[in-house]
Symmetry: C2
Subunit: 220 residues, 2 copies
Amino acid sequence: MFDNFHCSHMFSGISPESYSRMMVCFNSSPKKYSAGETICFYEPKKRTVAIVEKGRAVVVKTFYSGSQTILEQLSDGSIFGEVFYFHSNTDGISVIAASECTVRFLDYEHIMTSCHNACEHHSQLIQNLFSIISCKAAELSEHIDVLSHRTTREKLMAYFQIQSSKNNSGKFKLPFSLSALADYISVDRSAMMREIKKIKEEGYIDISQREVTILKDYIQ
Amino acid sequence: MFDNFHCSHMFSGISPESYSRMMVCFNSSPKKYSAGETICFYEPKKRTVAIVEKGRAVVVKTFYSGSQTILEQLSDGSIFGEVFYFHSNTDGISVIAASECTVRFLDYEHIMTSCHNACEHHSQLIQNLFSIISCKAAELSEHIDVLSHRTTREKLMAYFQIQSSKNNSGKFKLPFSLSALADYISVDRSAMMREIKKIKEEGYIDISQREVTILKDYIQ
DNA sequence: ATATTACTGTTGCATAAGCAACAAATTACA
DNA sequence: TGTAATTTGTTGCTTATGCAACAGTAATAT
């Protein structure tokens, strides 16, 4: 379970032995859920940190209409909880098992308050938690950087630029579908497709399916 | 210095006596700056947490062209540092004294690592830092909520709704100028003015200068 | 008091972008 | 393997929005 993290890692720098001891100290035992089962609902003032030790789950928002959006995909090693969800409104947010999975719940207060037991890596845990939050914030900030451009073209190029520098390459694969990209940059999908076509024709990028190549720099 | 925080507070729940003791433990002595003086530059991997104990300062981004944007306004009790700035690129970011001011620098590692001295409120400090970061993240998230609407009208109404619920009133004062609002929602100012006029005419809101009143709910 | 700067309010024009609707291609899945 | 569901690619129409440019007002500085 110690890979697959997007940003940092909740237990990096902590040995499996230390991890086990800490779980005892936290008085946390793993709970099992079968596919489709609701793991929990997000509640306003609750501050539990949960870890998906094994399996896949999703954080979903259910609207009054009954329609749902996936807010986050969780897999082995992922963490979730109110602390990582930066909205005041937790209405309709729940976590649902996508496969059979094992989840551990930790008390936020216990994480924050240094304990008197043998948790030698407690401060490491806190630092990791901090990195995770900072990383989430950085992602939000990145999203704002993209969204704060006026035109579809500028949004697209800003997004491509970011992906390109993340991959250290002018060639990269989109992490999600073009439809999802349209959602991410908050523009109409058909309008985006039209713009992509133009950008291609003007020779700035090449793109087919999810493969993007930046051909020349787009200034401003 | 214990007020004036936007979100939470670095030293809330910590007595002045405990604060003084901690400053000794942190080996941090206050430094003085006169108006206009550069307090520091943001550097890529540096992680110093700084506190404006007295006076006013600004975090500014200076572009290659020489033009500047104020990223943040700091006053008595404000904190700043790389940890609170969620971009990988720190180029051209500096903190400048706006008036004579006193600043304290704390080592991030020392904050995170629980110390063996008499800092009884160390874990409180960590929790406060955590609240501050979470709060900043929540603000970013709020900004995304506004920006991810397609039209100027929707962005405006989303923004007004948020302000209204923050003030617990349908009547509130904009925290900045209309020009700045146009920047915040990332639309052309004149287009925004045109839309505001329409929204007024249709009776959704009333607005003159910076006073906004929501008259009827805007659905969707 | 006067100059300077910033902010507010308005308009014409060209076009970018939203919406709706459809066909083709791709992927998922039973 | 075959069928459904999703994604991609395209177009016509209408309108919202960006841009430029200007005048009037408020705020700030000298």
